[in-house]
Symmetry: C2
Amino acid sequence: MESRAPEAYTAPVENYLKVIYEIERASGAAATTDIAQRLEIAPASVSGMVRRLADQGLLEHERYRGVKLTEEGRRVALRTIRRHRVIESYLTRALGYPWDLVHDEAERLEHAASDELIDRMAAAIGEPTVDPHGAPIPTREGEIDEQSHIALTDLEPGEHGRVVRVSDDDAARLRYLGELGLRPGAAVVLIECAPYGGPVTVRVGAGAKSAECHIGPALAADVRVERTE
Amino acid sequence: MESRAPEAYTAPVENYLKVIYEIERASGAAATTDIAQRLEIAPASVSGMVRRLADQGLLEHERYRGVKLTEEGRRVALRTIRRHRVIESYLTRALGYPWDLVHDEAERLEHAASDELIDRMAAAIGEPTVDPHGAPIPTREGEIDEQSHIALTDLEPGEHGRVVRVSDDDAARLRYLGELGLRPGAAVVLIECAPYGGPVTVRVGAGAKSAECHIGPALAADVRVERTE
DNA sequence: AAATAAATTTAGGACTTCCGAAATCTCGAC
DNA sequence: GTCGAGATTTCGGAAGTCCTAAATTTATTT
């Protein structure tokens, strides 16, 4: 296997660390089942890999309790996330990629690109701090500015907000959000949240080109916003 | 393993096919030992892989006689070569990569990039027909224009030529050639070829900024030129 | 024609990453 | 406290890619 640098972790290892970082951030510790679900592999496979990663000092594992990354594991995870998001940003801004396709491409390139390439890409598009979906890009040094944001559905009816981030892992869903204008930066007003899983009504955009749309509550909860005014 | 497309060959498979294509072009058929040497792996490993590739219909193997690619094998090889060379060209022209570093980067990215990405890169830099080292880039359809060229050392003393291609697989050597100005397009005049493995004297460049240099015969033979005037 | 050298293949292992099936553990309900 | 559902781990196995060492085949030399 050609290594990319003195630092050579395999693609699966980088993927494990990446999703563990994200689960840990969301829930404190990453359970085997959650990891398996995110990676779309069998839980049994995760058990085996987790043991090896623990042996390598990338994470700590309490049996039946889940895993936590070590400093080194976190560093590798953040480096991988930086790669992913820089690549997504570059493909969008420099090569005109539609925003729903960049995720899959980045998912593969992130394991092959050198630090040199990532830095050149970042420089070429002006050192962006967030990717096309609004996710923050860790710095070369591994610092990440995890913004706090609320779900679109957390707004009160009538309240104004601005989209800061959407989840990027489903191309079709992203395309749909794009058609509705629900991209990072878009101004929104929550009109109504129908109860019992009913549709969420939102006004998207400002002024003359604004439009109302109705989306499901699960989708709406994945659109992260900040309050404005 | 995430696949890149309906067409999913592993990185090692693509590398085998690529070097087999090149050896076959140079010598008619690719011997196990040659393949092993180019891939820097043990000959025994090649035997095993060759059998699998033959089973998959990518090449034909006559025991103890070497291998030849099938139509399908050739197609995959040329697609991989196109990827490699488009990536090299893009890194050089769009991201300012020094020409001695692009080979290693492309060697990894060629297995991860989608056809879509390759096409966008090619379009972004104006559909180049040769890479930074002068090697021809196969078309999307798998056609390649293998130019005929002679070694620098095939020129007669006093004869003029133009560099069309240099070999790209050794970064340090490439950097050296670059310092001497021996890049594709450079005008050269062969001054003298000392006998018995002696140095080759060449005038590089035209007019006032031309300079004479002395290089070893092995290096000189790897600088491919065409006659001018 | 036999001996030697070189190229090639086979045999037996190692490592990584995945799987399904079976065993084990945890924790809340009763 | 026990039970069972659900989560987790262990076990045995497969595929891919590589290795070294030993056996075999081909080519060359004498």
